[in-house]
């Protein structure tokens, strides 16, 4: 036995309590690792170079939208090979739990632009021909059990109908697959013309963003600057970026990601602080006579205080290390899914070591008070009880 095994045995004297505390610490640091990494990815941005597609969004706010009339000017921009648009529809299918993106699009142009989406040519013809037609990613159709020919009702929220109803109904005319399974934003697509006619007149002609194909990926950055320059002084200025960057912006505008993450983490750590602090205080109270015995045997005040402090640091350190390790694993598994709008997501050394540092600090903060009480403990007093 050595001092370490003494601390170790003390730690596990109340197994259930220790494991519960340990699990909450692990959960906190798992969350820390994930949220920090996502926030880092948000901060880092994505370079506009070497891509053949760009997204043109409203410069200031996604809520503004852009006039569909920008399209001809964009197409006329040197270096632009093609352009189409899509609109964030929002809306609910049966229940808010059923979340999937829905976009009114120009059927043929859209599938030309997104050539990783593969659809049967006959179905694409139908999609173009039938006003209320819609197509869905095959896996989505499978998930909800949709068959070609089904009518699919969507409850509108952002876009209201001119007839006063909120109910939009579409006829599924086909499904499409995604090559390489690379885009989590594949949506439920329907005809823009029908959408534009049916919505209330004040909102006609507003779309969310344009997708632009550039002739030469090496010139993507120049093309992007040219497009934005044209609308700089219009009432609808634009911001042109890679798709990943645009997706990131979209999410960032939904909320201040850094602030949200830090608020969550503060709340989590505050809870952990109280919880662990309570565990340690309780552990100390139970152990007063034993600490007095250690002092009787000749353990100095400082040594006893250190035993108590190290126990707390050990508990938080183990929890922190396991939590961070778990976060690394989870992040490795979900990074491919996040790549579509966050680019590369990985655990930075800063997050790893920062997390471990916080864990140790947590241990010290939580253990300090019990350690000082242990240090002050008077043997004679404690043994009289």
């Amino acid at each position: 036995m050595n001092s370490f095994s003494l601390i170790w045995s003390n730690l596990f004297r109340r197994r259930v309590r220790t494991f519960l505390t340990l699990f909450s610490i692990i959960a906190a640091f798992l969350l820390f690792g994930l949220l920090r990494s996502v926030a880092d990815a948000f901060d880092s941005g994505v370079e506009v170079a070497g891509v053949d597609r760009l997204t043109v969004s409203p410069k200031y706010s996604i809520i503004d939208g852009l006039p569909v009339s920008h399209m001809s000017q964009i197409l006329a921009t040197p270096g632009v090979a093609g352009v189409t648009h899509s609109t964030w529809f929002g809306g609910t299918y049966q229940s808010t739990a059923n979340f999937f993106p829905k976009f009114p699009v120009e059927p043929r142009a859209y599938f030309e632009m997104f050539d990783e989406y593969i659809i049967d040519p006959a179905q694409l013809d139908e999609f173009e021909r039938i006003r209320t037609a819609a197509v869905a990613p095959a896996d989505l159709a499978e998930e909800y059990g949709w068959q070609v020919g089904d009518r699919i009702p969507i409850e509108g929220d952002i876009w209201l109908r001119e007839d006063g109803s909120r109910r939009w109904e579409f006829e599924l005319v086909g499904t499409y697959r995604i090559r390489d399974d690379e885009n989590m934003f594949a949506g439920f697509l329907f005809n823009y013309d029908y959408f534009d006619e049916a919505r209330i007149p004040e909102t006609e002609g507003i779309i969310s963003n344009f997708s632009v194909r550039v002739s030469d990926p090496d010139e993507a950055a120049e093309v992007s600057a040219l497009i934005d320059a044209q609308f700089e002084n219009s009432i609808n200025p634009t911001r042109t970026a890679t798709e990943a960057e645009a997706n990131r912006q979209f999410a960032a505008q939904v909320g201040d990601i850094g602030l949200i993450m830090n608020s969550i983490l503060s709340a989590v750590f505050f809870t952990i602080l109280l919880l662990t602090g309570n565990t340690m205080a309780q552990a100390l109270r139970e152990r007063v006579p034993e600490l007095a015995v250690l002092k009787t045997l000749g353990f100095t005040d400082r040594r006893v205080a250190l035993l108590v402090l190290l126990e707390s640091v050990l508990l938080c350190g183990i929890g922190g290390a396991l939590g961070i390790a778990l976060a690394t694993l989870v992040l490795g598994a979900i990074a491919p899914d996040l790549a579509a709008f966050l680019g590369q997501v990985e655990m930075s050394a800063m997050t790893t070591f920062g997390g471990l540092g916080i864990a140790v600090l947590l241990g010290i903060v939580v253990g300090l008070n019990p350690a000082l009480s242990a240090r002050r403990l008077q043997v004679v007093e404690a043994l009289r009880r």
């Binding site: 036995m1 050595n2 596990f12």
Partner: protein, 226 residues
């Protein structure tokens, strides 16, 4: 040569406004190798006196010289180090650490020495063998009887080879037969291993195991009363 020498020792406590004069101008001298039984009514200050001798407490006035060291005025740190080398404590309620096996409990005081892990373990096993518990080293206190727990406590008290054993009612929680076994063991430690023992007891029969008995009453020591 005396191993313990108390001169004009007083110990007063203040409880709120009230002053409790537990020990008053007390003189005591104990020779090395003695086995002293300390008796007296409850509240007479027996434990208080043991705490002073064991370096756990400081007197209000007087001098306390134990094992060649003046304890009065020593820092808490110095006292702790001194205790670990010179005193073995044995309590009425054993005071073992419930999470540790018997061997580890006995090993505890050796954590304060320079001995290596293997040597510590070996010494702990020897101490357990001396108290007759060599075969229970792996048991936790909860798995041992009262008498066995007290034996473990005695092993812990002697493992660092201190010259003095301080026992506060070591048989107070045991039945007659077990108590006699513990007292025989203390006697053995005194006679065969030369430990100087001061033992507080309420049991006149226990006192017969000691070489002499002192009575503490109203803050002063009385030889052979009752």
């Amino acid at each position: 040569m005396s191993i313990i020498q108390l001169n004009q020792v007083s110990r007063h406590f203040t409880k709120g406004r009230q002053k409790v004069e537990v020990l008053n101008d007390l003189d005591l001298e104990i020779e090395e190798g003695d086995f002293l039984a300390l008796m007296g009514p409850s509240g007479s200050g027996k434990t208080t006196l043991l705490n002073l001798i064991g370096g756990l407490d400081q007197p209000t006035a007087g001098s306390v010289e134990v094992a060649g060291r003046q304890l009065v005025g020593l820092s808490s740190r110095k006292l702790a180090q001194w205790r670990s080398r010179n005193i073995g404590f044995i309590f009425q309620f054993y005071n073992l650490l419930p999470i540790l096996s018997a061997r580890r409990n006995v090993e505890l005081p050796l954590l304060l020495t320079r001995l290596g892990g293997r040597q510590r373990r070996r010494n702990a096993d020897v101490a357990l063998a001396i108290v007759g518990l060599g075969d229970r080293a792996g048991h936790k206190p909860g798995e041992l009887s009262g008498g066995q727990q007290q034996r473990v406590a005695i092993a812990r008290a002697i493992v660092a080879d201190p010259r003095i054993l301080v026992c506060d009612e070591p048989t107070g929680d045991l039945d007659r037969e077990t108590a006699d076994e513990i007292l025989d063991l203390l006697e053995l430690l005194n006679r065969e291993h030369g430990k100087t023992i001061i033992m507080v007891t309420h049991d006149p029969k226990a006192a017969t195991h000691a070489r002499r008995t002192l009575y503490l009453d109203k803050g002063s020591l009385v030889r052979e009363a009752a």
